[in-house]
């Protein structure tokens, strides 16, 4: 591991100043991904600014129903919070489906959003990877890509975003609060992560020195009826091969409203707008659910070994929507 400077921030402004001043400085949250990547040589910061003592460690329920989540709230604490458990079960379930108890106790909300892909080529500095070393090539296209993207990838990169939590937040239409050298701003979670295009090294739309301070989930009463379904290669402690976050509001047999996002199939949490639009106002039937999901997946592109994700995401989405509609026990 490369030697680095370490400091502990006592204010957000100070943290931003320190990182903004050094192009090779990074913020350190729970460290469950960054420290691993530093050991692997994938991340090689000169300086780490520990932001875990900053006062972004609360979950607050506003009078209008908005749930404000501090960026330093640990994943375990967020999953257990009563407002989340009862009002946003999809978020609680997604958090608990991720990692292990020990990791969830360390991992923060901000860090979870900014974790990097688990693509084996990205993590191995002895191999090419356009995300790690732009222009070096992508061995995954012809190599090991069973768990890589079928939606939103580009010729340069087909990495998937590994977060479960972010998939739930995408479905819930969350807003990310950021502070930076140019002041505060809000970013819709859907626009925090970007598709690789020609710039696969840039995972997010954050500028250097910008710090996530929190996430706001707007009031969504029907999210009380929401759920997360994750499929993985073993029963616990594995990244998803496909996941879906959904909230469904059915009235008189018709879909009044719906939120839908897919995980582990794209370089970012994949909000399924096409499917949502196809569902609203239509009968809440298995056939309707299937048709809507297939419309969303029409753009999916399979490589040699990851095509199974397309029927898989379709099946689990239809199943989850049926469960939420009360159509199957």
């Amino acid at each position: 591991m490369k030697a680095f400077q370490f400091s502990r921030a006592d204010s957000a402004a100070g943290a931003v100043r320190s990182v903004a001043a050094n192009p090779r400085a990074m913020f350190l949250g729970g460290g469950t991904n960054l420290v691993d990547l530093m050991k692997l040589g994938v991340e090689r910061p000169d300086e780490l600014v520990d932001i875990t003592r900053l006062p972004f460690d609360r979950v607050h329920l506003d009078a209008d129903g908005t749930v404000r989540i501090g960026a330093n709230v640990r994943n375990s604490d967020l999953a257990a919070h009563p407002a989340v458990r009862t009002g946003l079960p999809v978020l609680s379930q997604a958090l608990l489906a991720g990692a292990s108890g020990q990791l969830r106790n360390m991992a923060t909300v901000g860090g979870n959003l900014l974790q990097r892909t688990r693509c084996v080529y990205f993590q191995d500095v002895t191999k090419p990877c356009n995300k790690r070393r732009p222009g070096s090539g992508c061995p995954a296209r012809t190599g090991q890509h069973r768990n890589l993207a079928v939606l939103g990838g580009s010729e340069t990169c087909i990495a998937t975003h590994p977060s479960d939590m972010a998939v739930a937040l995408a479905a819930l239409g969350a807003q990310v609060a950021v502070t930076g050298p140019d002041g505060d701003r809000g970013i819709p979670l859907e626009e925090l992560h970007r598709l690789p295009g020609e710039l696969p090294d840039q995972d997010t739309t954050l500028r250097h020195g910008e710090l996530i301070t929190g996430v706001a989930v707007p009031a969504l009463p029907f999210a009380e009826r929401s759920a997360y379904r994750k499929v993985r290669d073993r029963a616990s402690y594995a990244f998803a091969v496909a996941s879906v976050a959904a909230a469904l509001d059915v009235h008189d047999g018709l879909v009044r409203d719906v939120r839908l996002a897919f995980g582990a199939v794209a370089p970012k949490p994949w909000r399924a707008h096409i499917a949502e639009d196809a569902l609203r106002g239509r009968p809440a039937t298995a056939a309707g659910f299937r048709a809507a999901v297939e419309a969303e997946l029409a753009a999916a592109v399979a490589l040699r070994d990851n095509g199974f994700k397309i029927p898989l995401i379709s099946n689990i989405t239809v199943g989850l929507l049926q469960d939420l509609a009360g159509a199957r026990s």
Partner: protein, 703 residues
Amino acid sequence: MSVTATRAVGSALGRIEGPAKVTGAAKYAGEQDDIQDVAYVWPVQSTIAKGRIRHIDDAPIRDRPQVLAVLTPDNAPHLQPLADAELAVLQTRNVAYRGQIVAAVVAQTLETAREAAEQLQIEYDEEAHDVELTQDHQSLYKPEHVNPSFPTDTEQGEVDHALATAAFSVDHTYETPALHNNPMEPHATLAIWHGDELTLYDSNQGAYSVQQTLAQLFDLDPAAVHVMSQHVGGGFGSKGTARVNAVLAAMSARLVRRPVKLALHRHHQFAVVGYRTPTIQRIKLGADADGRLTAISHDVVEQTSTLMEFAEQTAIATRIMYAAPNRRTTHRLARLDMPTPRWMRAPGECPGMYALESAMDELAIECDLDPLELRIRNEPARDPESGKPWSSRSLVECLRDGADRFGWAGRDPRPAVRYDGSWLVGTGVAASTYPAYAGPATAAARAERDGTFVVRITASDIGTGARTALTQIAADALRVGTDVVRVDIGDSAFGQANIAGGSMGTASWGWAVTKACTELREEVGRHGEIPVDGIEVHADTSAEIEARTGYKFQGFGAQFAEARVNVDTGEVRVPRLLGVFGVGRVINSRTARSQLIGGMTMGLSMALHEEGVLDPAFGDYVNHDLAEYHVASCADVTDIAAHWVDEQDDHVNPMGSKGIGEIGIVGTAAAVANAVHHATGVRVRDLPIRLDKLLGRLPTRTG
């Protein structure tokens, strides 16, 4: 052979070193914190699969603060060549596989060594590599023998004719992937030189074997090499003999003239310590109208490296499992630009029985027989291979007892008809087997004047409970309680003993301990009173092992699995796994159960999860960490049970015991695969049974 009267043997004595382990007081090889002035070495691995090092530029790192040495093939100490060519660390500029150690950096801190090693610039002359095993690979050849010294091929009768005229037959090819041992404790060594004397704290399965090997490599008298391995956190075969960690640590310590520590990174473990070869196995079975086997044919294709030969004995269990007049087994190896495969828990039996026991299930369906009944009908009275009588064989009892416990009776043989919501449910059975080997060993037993006893033997406790089992055996042979017996192990100074491998540790060491303790008891009896300096006797079981002939010594078992497969996703769950084993007398019921369910868990993991994923472009296993190489998690193992039948064996050894370290992993994957077939009607013939191999082949849900 008489069996020692038992008191401690058979009890559930807790691990003697248990409290030391859970409190952290037990020191593993990399934890000798009382050794001062330790330096650290970090290996540099090749990034090509085949070729030659053209140039190593250490200028950017050699003068860094804290860097003590950069080892390369140009300056590494010369080693004596051995048959184990993997141990010729840094002796050539040639590269035989990606991940081979091509340099190393020694530094005052681990972090400095690692960072400098990653900055080392190496240029290669790269050659085209060949890393993919195929059934008809152009380099296939017939090895002289298979591990360790079994015939490569066997043939009796007219196999092809019998198959052609069989009433029922199956002919299928089964594949198993590369599997990686992944003990919890990585391979680790602390090496210390005093002049020409070498001391190693080393994580291994046999301190005596490591002592002999290091002495040969460094051209030393074995007495000048002292290997200590008090506690070892698993090996599963990958620490069966000295590995590169011991060699590189010793080389480095000699060069920098201070103690050097090396604990391999998990990434290293996927290249330099061995793994189970992938296998491609074609099985043909023929049976008559009553389901009696007329022909068994098992052809194995697997890999070795270009450095040396390792020939997994994959078909040997097929030679002894079932009666059939016409039988053939073959093994062929491809020499690939890959690391050398080595032993992994039940080498041979484990992949081989996956194939055979899957084929038996397929034959049972062809014959319309219960798979239990098919096995019972083909039970051989003697070893079909050698014609020798069994010292004991309880397969049929295990099958019947297991069927009762599992609730097998009344099983509907039809596949893909049992739904529980979105889940298809099925059950499967397979047989297990593992030889009951024993090897010669020496032991010393000592009576102290204060009424206590000390036994010394170069046994290894790699987490199995060997220290505890040997204490029970010693106490019974001495006819005293375990509380007055101390068994010291894991020290090459105690003399020759075989490794913890081949499930023969307890049998071999227990034999020597029994002999030493029995003689000591008689000696003490003759003395009447124990003198001030105690009484010590030494035993060697070479003659007894030599005389151990006339029978086939083999353990058997039966495993039952319930599988649930989600029709929407192909997810597989195994809510129940039950094994019943005939393994002679069980020395310690607690640690034995742990060994058996541990093996079964690893078998479940093999069935559903484990796979070294090869990238042919690079020539390495790309999923080289425990996040990507999945082993079963606790949530995958819900209801698992191991039982044993009461098997008395007066021939196998003085304890009447058979090894239990490996039999648990044998057959599990077939039981699971058979259950998955029963659940879904889909036969997956290449492990692991991942959801993407099932999805799209599952029945459409009607319920």
